[in-house]
């Protein structure tokens, strides 16, 4: 019984993975033609990026502040409070920024993408496009996907900047860490490789989150419950995939 159940689950997940892969290649093939309408992509960068700015900035600020509190508490045990700038910067750039930004992106922009496309499907808008000889993959899916992939690193950059400001606020202003040490040690220890690790992670997470969000919306069951389920699947699948990919990418960079 358990073997049969495992086989069913395995087959179902394998089939879904295959379907997502095929969808991904079909959509990527439509990305170049979609570039002919840059306004659509810019609009999606605004939707996925600019509209997520408040939540990203607020989260970045508090994450940076908490990081400074915890870091200060740990480092002062070894008399190394001056290294707070390095600790905060590396933790943010390499790990916390890409992961938390992607999780927030999945919850804010990913769900929005899935529900929007799912509703378009439920109200026959995608079929209407096909009947007007317009491929919805080019007009709907590709611009949203590209908008998400471009927006993610930009949001991550904002998260990092605000996070470092939050860390500085708590570490320097409240805990009394020397301002010069905080910034100069950070400047000396953080290299391009560390920054690139965060950028690459953001790009990969942006690709994965946007792909899942667009796919789930595109194939959502065209009912209210179906769109709701698809939105839930977007958050769950994106969150798990982000953490899995984070481990793989971290292992690759070490």
């Amino acid at each position: 019984m358990n073997t049969a159940l495992t086989e069913v689950l395995f087959t179902r997940n394998l089939r879904k993975l295959g379907a997502i892969t095929v969808f991904c290649f079909r959509m990527l093939a439509q990305c170049a033609p979609a570039l002919g309408r840059p306004a659509l992509i810019i609009n999606q960068i605004y939707n996925a990026g600019a509209r997520s700015l408040i939540i990203i900035m607020l989260s970045g600020l508090f994450v940076g502040m908490v990081l400074a509190l915890q870091g200060f508490d740990l480092l002062q045990r070894f008399g190394s409070e001056d290294a707070l700038g390095i600790a905060a910067a590396l933790a943010l750039l390499k790990e916390l920024t890409p992961v938390i930004t992607a999780l927030l992106f999945a919850g804010r922009a990913g769900t929005s993408l899935t529900s929007e496309i799912g509703l378009m499907r439920a109200t026959d808008q995608l079929t209407a496009m096909r009947m007007m000889a317009v491929d919805p993959l080019r007009y709907v899916a590709a611009p949203r996907f590209m908008g998400g992939v471009i927006a993610m690193p930009l949001l991550a950059a904002v998260f990092s900047i605000v996070g470092l400001f939050g860390a500085q606020l708590v570490g320097v202003q409240m805990m009394g860490v020397d301002r010069g040490s905080f910034w100069s040690q950070m400047q000396g220890a953080v290299g391009l490789k560390d920054v690139m690790e965060g950028v690459v992670k953001s790009l990969v997470f942006g690709f994965a989150c946007s792909l899942i969000a667009v796919y789930e919306g595109y194939y959502a069951e065209p009912t209210a419950a179906g769109v709701g389920l698809a939105t839930t699947r977007t958050v769950v699948a994106s969150s798990v995939l982000i953490l899995l990919l984070d481990y793989v990418l971290t292992a690759c960079f070490l």
Binding site: D124, T127, A133, V134
Partner: protein, 282 residues
């Protein structure tokens, strides 16, 4: 009045007059047979009405005629081309010669009325903006909604949305226009307006029209040819007047809107009294 295997003289057409030819089509969804040996033709320049009770597969037939679905057996020829032999690109090229009015309008929710109507022009032509504007306003004027050009779809009533969708469907001057239940849920004024618009499109522009509906009165007023679907096949074909005068029980039941007849009103269920007494089961 005629059974499907003996087409009426009025529906016999020379090959060059046939725009859509459905031959021996069978189609099933899972185990449910929707069509079994369906045959019908749509003649050039005429309005063809496809009637039938709800759930009889009228919208599915539209999907087959527009290559959104493929039949399990049989052929669907449109403009002389067998749809099953066409590539995706060829289907898209053929759809540029068609228009379709969806039951709910299916307007693009992020574009205003003007941009919805302009959408096919912007996607398929490089016309200068003044010409696009002229064409869009001409079509909106035809459906009486030029003044609503700046409204968003969410601000439109059901009837207005359908008229905008009609303007969008004709903006590329299609040869063939499909209407999916165009009269459903409309008030009498909007309903009369849509009826007149369909007739005017046909008379003024010579558009071949396929109207799928279960509204007998409206469809009878505009259709040149009519088909009545039931049980997965065409049970009657002819001019609307011929269908009205038919003696076939299934036709009479549908045209008179009677619950009694060959088409069951009730979905198959256990005996009524028994079901009422069996309190523990639904």
């Amino acid at each position: 009045m005629t059974a499907p295997d003996k087409p009426l003289p009025s529906l016999a057409a020379a090959p060059h007059d046939v725009v859509i030819d459905v031959r021996g089509v069978a189609y099933a969804v899972d185990a449910h047979v929707v069509f079994d040996d369906l045959n019908l033709t749509v003649r050039r320049g005429l309005i063809t009405g496809i009637m039938g009770p709800s759930g009889t597969g009228k919208t599915t037939l539209l999907r087959l005629m527009t290559a959104q679905s493929a039949p399990d057996r049989g052929t669907v020829q449109v403009f002389g081309e067998d749809l099953s032999t066409l590539s995706s690109a060829q289907v898209f090229a053929m759809r540029k010669r068609m228009g379709m009015l969806f039951q709910n309008g299916a307007l693009l929710s992020d574009l205003d009325v003007f941009e919805n109507v302009a959408f096919p022009l912007r996607e398929h032509t490089d016309l200068p903006e003044p010409l696009v504007r002229t064409l869009v306003l001409t079509k909106l004027q035809a459906v009486g909604l030029r003044g609503a050009a700046n409204l968003m779809p969410a601000e439109l009533s059901g009837g207005m949305a359908r008229r905008v969708a009609l303007a969008r469907a004709i903006v590329m001057d299609p040869e063939l226009l499909f209407y999916d239940e165009p009269f459903v849920g409309l008030d009498p004024i909007s309903r009369g307006m849509i009826v007149r618009l369909i007739r005017r499109m046909n008379e003024a522009l010579g558009i071949t029209s396929v109207v799928v509906s279960h509204d007998v009165v409206e469809l009878s007023a505009i259709a040149h040819d009519s088909y009545l679907l039931s049980g997965g096949r065409v049970v009657a074909a002819g001019a609307p007047q011929e269908l009205r005068e038919s003696a076939l029980p299934v036709v009479r039941q549908f045209m008179e809107g009677s619950a009694e007849g060959p088409v069951a009103f009730h979905y198959p269920a256990p005996e009524y009294r028994q079901a009422l007494l069996a309190v523990e089961d639904r």
